[in-house]
Amino acid sequence: MADVVLLDLWVSPFGQRCRIALAAKGVAYEYREQDLSNKSELLLRSNPVHRMIPVLLHGGRPVCESLLIVQYIDEAWPVAPRLLPGDPYARAQARFWADFVDKKIFDCGTRLWKCNGAALEQATRDMIEALGALEAELGGKDYFGGEDLGFLDVALAPFTAWFRTYEQCGGFAVAEHCPGLAAWADRCRGRDDVASALTDPDKVYEFALTLKEKFGDK
C-alpha cells in the first residue's frame, strides 16, 4: 500500500476537499474509488464508526471526516500553501465558516434536489441566504484565504460543481445573487489543484437527477 491512500467516491464533494488539499500541497497519493453499495473491507476497517468516505490513510493510519482530513493534511505537511492562517482569530473564523458550509450548504443542496413545492421554495431561500453569508465573508478578496487558497476555499470549492444543479432545481442564478462568489468559483476552477478534483457540473446534475429519482420526495 502506498504511504498515502485516499478512499473516496468520484462525485463526493467531501472527498474532493481532500483531493484539492493533497494537490495544493503536492502530496503524492493513491486514489481508491469505493463502491458504497458493496463496501470494501479496508473502508470498514478504517472507518468502523461511520463506514463513510472519505478516509485518508497515512502510513496505514486512518483519518476520517473531510474537514478533519484537510486539517490533518495542513498540519502533517506544514508547507505552502498554509491552509489555516497563522493568526488565531483568522483560524477560528476559517473553521467557523467551513463548519457553516457543512451545516448549511450541504443541507440546503440536498433539499434542493430532494424536495418539491413549498419545501423546495424554502430550500431555495435558505440556499440563497447561506451563499449570501459566504459572499459577505469573501468580501473583495480573491480567495477566502486571501491571496491564495485557504481552508474555507478548500471546504467550499467542491460545491461550486453543484451550483448548476442548485440553480436548475431552485430556479435561481448564483451570479445574480452572489456575483463575488460566482467570480471566486471561476477563479478556483482556473486552478489545476481545484479543477483536477471537481466533477463536471453537467455530470453532477445527471447524478443529482438519479438521486432525485431514487430518493426524492414524490
Binding site: 464508526v49 497515512h58 493510519r61 483519518v63 476520517c64 471526516e65 478533519l68 482530513i69 486539517q71 490533518y72 498540519e75 502533517a76 488565531p88 482569530y89 483560524r91 477560528a92 473553521r95 467557523f96 463548519d99 457553516f100 453569508a133
Partner: protein
Amino acid sequence: MEKAAAAENKAAPLKLLGSWASSYTHRVQLALRLKGLEFEYAEEDLGSKSEALLRHNPVYKKVPVLVLPDGRALAESAIMLHYLDDAFPAARQLLPADPFDRAVARFWCHFSDDKLGPAVGAVFASTGEEQEAAVRQVHENLALLEAELREGAFKGRRFFGGDEVGFLDVVLGCGSYWLAVFEEVTGVQLVDADAFPLFHAWLRDFEAQEEVRETIPSVDRLLDYARGLRQMLLAMAAGAGAPADAPTAAPPSAAPPAPATADIAVDI
C-alpha cells in the same frame, strides 16, 4: 495617578456570554479555568436574548459566545477551544501536539456532538418504545467509546487527553454529567458501571477535578431543571398529536422536538 491610568488602559479580559445549564458554555468555562485565563461571565436569558448576543452571533444566535478584548467575537464551543490553544500558546494546551492525535480527538468531539449527545437527548425527550430505541442507541455509542478506552486510541489512559484532562475530556465531560441527572429523572439506566467500566471510571475521575467541580452546577439545580424540562418536552410531544410511546424508533441522531428546545440548552 499614572499607575491608575495604566491600570485602566490594561486590556479588558475575555468575556463569555453563556447559559448556566448549557454544556457548551461549561466547556469554555472549564477550558478557561484549566488554562488559568481570567474572564468575565454574563448569563444570557435564552427566552429573551441580549442585543450583544444577537450582534456577536448573528448566524446561529446561540450561546456560548466569546468576546475578545478588541470586541471581536467567536461562536461554536469547539472552535473556541481551538482558539484558546492558538491565542495563548504559553498556557496549558488542550489539544494534543501530534497531527494524527489531533484528528482523533476532533473525530470523537464530532461523535459526541453529532451522535452521543442527540441520542441522550432523544432518551430524555421520549417514553415507551421510542425511548427504548433511543437507549439502545446511547448504549451502542458508549460501547464505541468504551472500546477505544479498552483497546483503541485511548488504551491505558486515565483521561482521553492522557495523564491530564484535555480537549476531548472537556467536550465529552461537559455533557456526560447530564447522564446521571437524566437517569434520575427518567428512571432509565444509561451508564452501567458493569457494562462501561472504563467510561464510568473516567467520568468519576473527570468530575473529581477541581476545575470541573468549579464549573458544573450542583446536582440539585440540574435535577430541578431537568425535571421541569422533561415535563415540558412530554407535554409538547403529547400536544403535537403523536402518542408519547409510538412504536416507530427514534432516528439515531434525533434531537429533542420543537424549535424552542434548541434554545433551552439541554444541548449536551
